[in-house]
C-alpha cells in the first residue's frame, strides 16, 4: 500500500501523529503555564532557572556515566548512583578528616588565598574522581565481566544487587553510618544577589525582595562541569582510547580483530563514567551540604531518566537531557509543590518511553553484539 491510499487516520497512526500531537500540546501548555509564572514574577523565575542549571549540570555528569556504559556494554548500571554517593563521602573524609583542601595553603604559605582554595578544591574533586574510578573498575571486574556473555537481564539484576550492596555496606556503623552527616565544604560559601547590579550578600543578611541570588557554589559547579565535559569530549573525539571506545561500542568482534583490547576499553569506560559521577558527588554535596548512604538513589535515577530522555548511548543526549531534567525539577518543585519534582522526573521517563523510546538524540537500536 502506498501513502496516497491510506486514510487520514491510518496516516496519523503510521506517523505516530497522535503521540507527537499530544507532545506538542503538552509542550505548548507547559510553555504557556511557565511563561505566565515568569511574567508574574521574573525574579523568582530566574531564580528557578539558575537553581535548575546548577542541578542540571550535576545530573549531566552522572548521566554521562550511564550513557557511556550503556553504549559500550548495553547495561544500565544501576550501581552508578551509589558510586556518586561514594564520591561524595570520599570528599567528605578528605575535607573533614584529612584537610586535603588546605594542602596548597599549608605547603606554600605565600600562595594567594584564592588560588590556594581553587587548587585545594580541585584536589578534593580529583581524589573523589580517582577513588570512584577504582571502585567502578573493581565492580566491573568482579560483578559484570563474568556475565559479559550471559543474557543481558543477568547483568542488570547484578547491577541492582551491587547497588544494594554499596548502599547497605555504606550504612554500616563503621563505614558511613546510617545517619545524615553535615558536609563541610572545601571552601567558604560566598553569595551575591542581583538587583540593579551584582552585590555581595553578607553572611546572615537577607537579600532584598525581587532579587536573584547565586553563590560561588553555582559558579564552581558550572565551571567544573564544563571543564569535565570539554575534557570528556576531547578524550572521546580525539584520543586513541576514545576512538577505541567508539569502535568497541559499535562492534566488539571487529574491534578485537583490529587488536583493540576490548576488556581494557570497557574497563576504561567504566572508570571515566565513574570519575564523572565522583566529581558530581562532590559538587552535589557542596550544593546540598549533607551526605548519607542512600543519597545516590534519587539523583542516580534522575540522571538515568536524563540519559533516556536524551537518548541512551548518546553523549550530547545525556547533557541535553540532564539540563531539561534540572529545569523540569525546579520548576515543578517551585511552582507546584516540592514532592512534585520526583513525580515529574518519572512522568518524563514514562512519556519518553511511550512516545519516543529512543530519546531526543537516540537512533533506533542496531542489532549488534
Amino acid at each position: 500500500m502506498n501513502d496516497e491510499q491510506l486514510t487520514v487516520l491510518q496516516r496519523m497512526i503510521k506517523g505516530k501523529w497522535i503521540g507527537k500531537g499530544f507532545l506538542a500540546l503538552l509542550a505548548l501548555a507547559i510553555i504557556w503555564w511557565v511563561g505566565g509564572k515568569a511574567i508574574q514574577s521574573p525574579s523568582l523565575f530566574f531564580q528557578q532557572i539558575i537553581n535548575g542549571i546548577q542541578l542540571g549540570f550535576v545530573y549531566a555528569l552522572i548521566a554521562l556515566g550511564y550513557t557511556m556504559v550503556y553504549g559500550i556494554v548495553r547495561l544500565i548500571n544501576f550501581a552508578h548512583g551509589d558510586v556518586f554517593m561514594f564520591g561524595a563521602f570520599v570528599s567528605f573524609f578528605a575535607v573533614s578528616l584529612f584537610q586535603l583542601h588546605l594542602w596548597p595553603v599549608q605547603t606554600f604559605p605565600s600562595l594567594p588565598p584564592l588560588i590556594g582554595i581553587v587548587i585545594g578544591t580541585l584536589s578534593v574533586i580529583a581524589l573523589s574522581m580517582v577513588s570512584c574510578a577504582i571502585l567502578a573498575m573493581t565492580i566491573e571486574r568482579i560483578a559484570y565481566k563474568p556475565l559479559r556473555d550471559a543474557p543481558r537481564i543477568s547483568a542488570l539484576i547484578t547491577a541492582i544487587g551491587v547497588s544494594f550492596f554499596l548502599e547497605y555496606f555504606g550504612a554500616l556503623p563503621f563505614v558511613f553510618t546510617p545517619n545524615f552527616i553535615t558536609y563541610k565544604r572545601p571552601f567558604e560559601i560566598v553569595t551575591w544577589y542581583v538587583k540593579d547590579g551584582i552585590h555581595r550578600l553578607e553572611a546572615g543578611a537577607e537579600a532584598p525582595p525581587g532579587s536573584v541570588i547565586f553563590s560561588n557554589v553555582l559558579i564552581i559547579i558550572i565551571l567544573v562541569s564544563i571543564l569535565l565535559l570539554v575534557g570528556l569530549n576531547y578524550v572521546v573525539r580525539r584520543t586513541k582510547i576514545g576512538k577505541a571506545m567508539r569502535a568497541t561500542a559499535y562492534d566488539k568482534p571487529t574491534s578485537r580483530l583490529m587488536g583493540i583490547n576490548v576488556d581494557g576499553v570497557i574497563s576504561t569506560t567504566f572508570a571515566i563514567g565513574a570519575s564523572l559521577a565522583g566529581a558530581a558527588g562532590v559538587l552535589y554535596a557542596t550544593a546540598y551540604p549533607q551526605v548519607v548512604f542512600w543519597m545516590g538513589i534519587i539523583p542516580g535515577l534522575k540522571a538515568f531518566v536524563a540519559a533516556v530522555l536524551g537518548g541512551i548511548g548518546s553523549i550530547p543526549g545525556a547533557f541535553v537531557g540532564a539540563l531539561i531534567m534540572g529545569q523540569a525539577e525546579v520548576i515543578s518543585a517551585g511552582y507546584i509543590s516540592t514532592p512534585m519534582r520526583d513525580a515529574v522526573a518519572f512522568t518524563i521517563l514514562i512519556l519518553v518511553l511511550l512516545i519516543r523510546p529512543t530519546g531526543i538524540f537516540g537512533e533506533p537500536e542496531r542489532e549488534k553484539a
Binding site: K243, A244, R246, Y250, R256, L257, M258, G259, I260, N261
Partner: protein
Amino acid sequence: MLLEVKDLNVYYGAIHALQGISFHLNQGEIVTLIGANGAGKSTTLNTISGILRPRRGQVLFKGVDITFTPAEEIVRMGICQSPEGRKIFATLTVMENLEMGAYTQNNKAEIQKNLERVFRSFPRLKERQNQLGGTLSGGEQQMLAIGRALMSRPQVLLLDEPSMGLSPILVEEIFNIIQEINSQGTSILLVEQNAQMALSVAHRGYVLETGKIVLEGKSSDLLNNPMVAKAYLGAH
C-alpha cells in the same frame, strides 16, 4: 612455513564446524581457501585471529603456537584480518577506521608511513578520509577494510570474501591491489567464493567442504581440475 594450521577442530555448541583441517601458508605466498556457503571458511579465519577457540588442533605462526594467544596479541605479532562483510566502523571517520587498524602500533612515524602506503594503494580513501565510514560505497568500504587491516603492518593478511557484492570491474581492481600488496612482501590467506578470481591470483589453493579440506594443490592444477570446475567455476 609462515603460518601453519594443524588438525583444527572448531565447534559452535554441538555443530562441528571445522572437522580437522590442516593447511599452511609460506612466506610471500597467496593461498586461497575456497568453498561454498557454510563450508567453514570464516570459522577458519576467526580461529586463526583468536576470536574463536578450537577444541582440538593448533595454529602455528613462524613455529610459535598461537592457538590460545589473545586476539590483540595475534594482531601485534603480525596477523590481521579484513573480515567478511567489511565490518567498517560506520560511526567513525575513514581516518579513524584506519587509526583503529593501527591500534597495536605505537611508533607515530611508522604509522604515518604506513598510512601513506595505504593511501597510495587506495587513493580514494585519501579523498574521503574525513567522511564517516558508514557513508562509503560498498567498494570503498572494501578498500577501507583492507586498508585498515594493512595499518597493523601484518606479515599475514587474512582476507574474507573481498569480492562479495562488488561489480566485476571493482572485483578486478580489488584483486589487482591484492596482488600488489603481496608483491610488496605481505603473505595473504584469501577466502573466496569467487573461485575463478581467487585461483587466478593465488599460488596455491585448498577446497573446503563442510568443515573438511577435500582438495588442495597449485592454483593452475585446481583451475583445471574437473571437480573444481564443476562445483565452483560454473562449468557444466
